[in-house]
């Protein structure tokens, strides 16, 4: 790999983000998100579990003075006096990590399996991917419910359930993409020239990488939504764990008292995360496509 290639990729990436203001906004959003979560969990000494019984239902306030720092509770407190900002930050971290795990696991296994089925033409794998076509619509909630019958609920199990629900989609999509690519004339030409399976796999992967990037990004955002939904239904994390869906479920009872901030902030966190992931994922897809298909000199 020459440095020219790295420069090419860097310029493609930057060019794509610069090209549309939407992408740039998404990128900035992503960076802010990551900074907030990283800073919040590592540096700011926030404790999402600490209860201040005397200070429950404090509405959010944004007063700031240079001596004491933020005057406590940017986002208010909940019914047990826990700092909502802390809970949102830690909750976002939990949800996002779980979603990353779920999407990455499903993508890794799914893409590998789909590709293997397409390229090797193994009949067993063929049967496998045929069945996956059916399961493409497995709702994660269903799998999560089944899991509660077997094991005690926890965030990790939720992530596993979501990964399982994403898997068939990956397998069938990657099979279809690989099979379509295999039918293209340049691949046929390569095969008649005697190229080996590994080589063809590499070439096809390179040419379809952008499609997989898009799929994975969409799976990631779906995972975020699914994990939050499952925890909202009470099938996931343990009661006190900060998790965005759970917080909204707990906060629902309080809206009748006029305390909206218990659900607004987690809600904003979820929606913004999903939007950012979708936007940045779409941008990455365009960038990778440009990077592969456009001339290095452009």
């Amino acid at each position: 790999m020459t440095s020219g290639t790295i420069r090419h990729w860097a310029s493609c990436l930057w060019g794509t983000f610069r090209g549309r203001p939407l992408f740039l906004t998404g990128l900035i959003g992503l960076i802010c998100y990551i900074i907030i979560i990283a800073a919040g969990t590592l540096f700011m000494g926030l404790d999402p579990y600490r209860q201040n019984i005397s200070e429950y239902f404090v509405p959010p306030s944004l007063s700031f003075s240079f001596e004491t720092g933020f005057n406590r509770f940017i986002m208010g407190t909940d019914d047990l006096g826990r700092d909502i900002f802390a809970r949102v930050v830690f909750g976002a971290r939990n949800t996002l990590f779980a979603a990353v795990f779920a999407a990455a696991a499903a993508a890794a296994v799914g893409i590998a399996a789909g590709f293997a089925a397409a390229i090797s033409g193994n009949p067993v794998l063929n049967i496998l991917r045929r069945t996956m076509l059916f399961l493409a619509a497995t709702p994660s909630v269903l799998i999560a419910v089944l899991m509660t019958a077997i094991v005690d609920p926890s965030l990790r199990h939720v992530a596993e359930a979501v990964a399982l629900s994403l898997l068939p989609g990956f397998i069938s999509s990657s099979y279809r993409i690989a099979a379509d690519e295999l039918r293209k004339k340049y691949v046929i030409a390569l095969r008649t020239d005697g190229a080996g399976k590994m080589y063809i796999t590499r070439i096809i992967l390179r040419n379809t990488a952008y499609l997989f990037a898009g799929m994975t990004a969409r799976a990631f955002s779906t995972a975020i939504i699914d994990i939050a939904s499952i925890c909202f239904l009470g099938l996931g994390a343990h009661h006190a764990t900060p998790e965005l869906g759970l917080m909204i479920s707990e906060g629902m009872a309080f809206i009748y008292r006029g305390n909206y901030w218990c659900i607004i902030f987690p809600g904003i966190a979820i929606v913004s995360a999903v939007l950012i992931v979708n936007i940045v994922g779409s941008a990455l897809k365009t960038a990778i496509r440009k990077g592969v298909f456009e001339n290095a000199s452009s």
């Binding site: 069945t131 059916f134 399961l135 269903l142 419910v145 939504i225 939050a228 939904s229 909206y260 999903v274």
Partner: protein, 317 residues
Amino acid sequence: MIKFILNRLMTLAGLLFLLSVITFWVNVRIYDIDLHGQLLPEYGKYMRNLLCLNLGTSDISGRPVMDLIRDTLPSTAGLLFSSLMISLIIGISCGSTAALTIDRTTSTVLTDISIFAASVPVFLIAVFLIIAVSLNITAIPSSDELSYFYEVPRITAIRLIDILLTDSGRKSEMLYNCLLHLVLPAATISVLPAAELTRITRNSLRNVMRQHYMQAAMSRGWSVFYIVIFHGLRNALPEIFIRLPVLINLYFTAVVTAEFVFNWPGTGNLLIAAAQDRDRPVIMGIFLFTASVLLTLNSVLSLLARFTRPVTAEQAR
């Protein structure tokens, strides 16, 4: 053609079999049943029970699971049907509008709204609707199917139809009340599928409109409405059908969440309650039932997709 149907049926049968094996294995695990090497007889018993629709009895209420399902299913069906209608109508019409007005801002606005709506989880929509609507317009209720005041005998167990069938004097009152209760849950469930449908219809219809036969038809001066529906949508349907299974996934999650939030007496609510109470037979029973329904639905959809797709020249030769 027949080969295709048989193929699909066999795959369906295979998957259902697999499903029963999985649930059997899960049952064995949960109850720590010692098989003593009697795997097949036990499995045989299990299958026989399944085929007689005996899904066990609830740990909590003691009633047979199948009865519980039978009690709650019609409510879910009613909810499902109404939201299906709403999301189909909104989704396809918005998608078509977005495809046809592709140059004007309406299209971009519609597309953006649909993308945004697809990013919001169902429970957030439910909560948001409750805040926005219920707390301001107290007339629209946010829980249950019907107010406690009214007594409606259970005939079909679908509240709306039951109301129509009674001969009580307050029929119109009850009907109105029932419809009011339907508003929020149905609206919640319809949002995500409508957004997805908009996006799918828009893309599919755009591709179709670019074809020459569409241009030719437009040049003949016929009514645009007629052309779009009879030529445009007819050709856009196969692509839509292919993507419908994803919608089913969305629907399931949406129905369960909405029933949970709005306390709607449906099967989804039953499922979540059982999960929270660890009522294992009910969980397994509803899981089995729902999974088989979903699998069958998937097969039907894929058959439909195959049949509505016009034969391409390659396949005919």
